[in-house]
Symmetry: C2
Subunit: 162 residues, 2 copies
DNA sequence: CTAATCTGGTTTCTTTAAGCAACCTTATTC
DNA sequence: GAATAAGGTTGCTTAAAGAAACCAGATTAG
């Protein structure tokens, strides 16, 4: 596809997408969160081509989203485990799942019911919140002037070409 | 790239990624949240190829993430605006941004400081929360048995091949 | 000890999509 | 009525995704 590289982009979303923004990476991370750790298991569960899986796993390891550990049992067995950086993708994956469930529900499938292990209660919708925990929409936020980056004002100030 | 289609996937993350999981779509949505609405503005801000931008915009409109409105000024001018479904990607975009800022900070750029328009206070980290608003990690959640889909148990139960 | 098998890949080939640049159409401005 | 702008479309090139075959080290079966 002749992808554009975002490594040096001043936008942290672009940099994030550079690491996990392709079709497979987030699905690999998702399955890793579900407990998958082995090459063959990823391959079978995802139905991904082996060479692509190789590439994605290597890249995720490079980017320290996963770590590759030699599982001592015998010798040449490996496991891919989430790092803290990888586990930190949890809200993103869950937010994506909730969005998918809300806007593209599968007719035959109940939306994922993820529950708190302690209380057994269903988790909340992932949302952007103010300091007090109240939900914020895109209209409710702004970027203070002098913000050092690619962001202009949120939901405001279309860069008029003139 | 011969991408695999996920439309019919039983996984809602896969279905979500099918709509906004490519390199550009989420960046288009991000810029739309920043206020960009015009073809040329997207093109210049993103540095995306025009044909790809066309394709992405059309797809996002098809998927009802954006709507294309004829802006009456003169006649053949259009604006691409977020729908509710599109605005609903806000937590995902913000979570991605926070993740990028945390794990791949730009040396010369301060992390995005997004603030509540009312109070002026910085927003929270986007997180998965239990019913009471307490943060949950991937280890703190589970999927009740009988969940109707692709999910096995979160952070548990590696499908032993046997 | 050799053959079959499992795991974790690598290689080759084909298909498809991304990137680039040129072009095109409708309107507007000069 | 020429130049410019918006919003595309077309064609070509390049690079990545997919499929499938092959491969090497370790394990188990006989």
């Amino acid at each position: 596809m002749a992808r554009k590289r975002f490594d040096d982009s001043s936008c942290s979303v672009a940099r994030a997408l550079n690491e996990v923004g392709d079709w497979w990476s987030l699905l690999v991370v998702l399955h890793a969160m579900y407990g998958t750790r082995r090459f063959v298991d990823f391959q079978q569960e995802l139905g991904i081509a082996r060479n692509i899986l190789c590439d994605r796993l290597a890249r995720l390891v490079d980017n320290q989203v996963l770590k590759k550990v030699e599982v001592g049992e015998h010798g040449s067995r490996f496991e891919y485990r989430l790092t803290e950086k990888g586990r930190d993708l949890f809200p993103i994956v869950i937010a994506l799942r909730q969005w998918g469930d809300k806007w593209n529900p599968a007719p035959d499938q109940a939306p994922l019911d993820l529950r708190d292990r302690e209380t057994g209660q269903t988790i909340r919708q992932v949302e952007v919140q103010d300091a007090d925990g109240n939900p914020l929409s895109v209209r409710d936020v702004f970027v203070p002037e002098g913000d050092g980056g690619s962001a202009r004002k949120a939901s405001d100030s279309k860069k008029k070409t003139g």
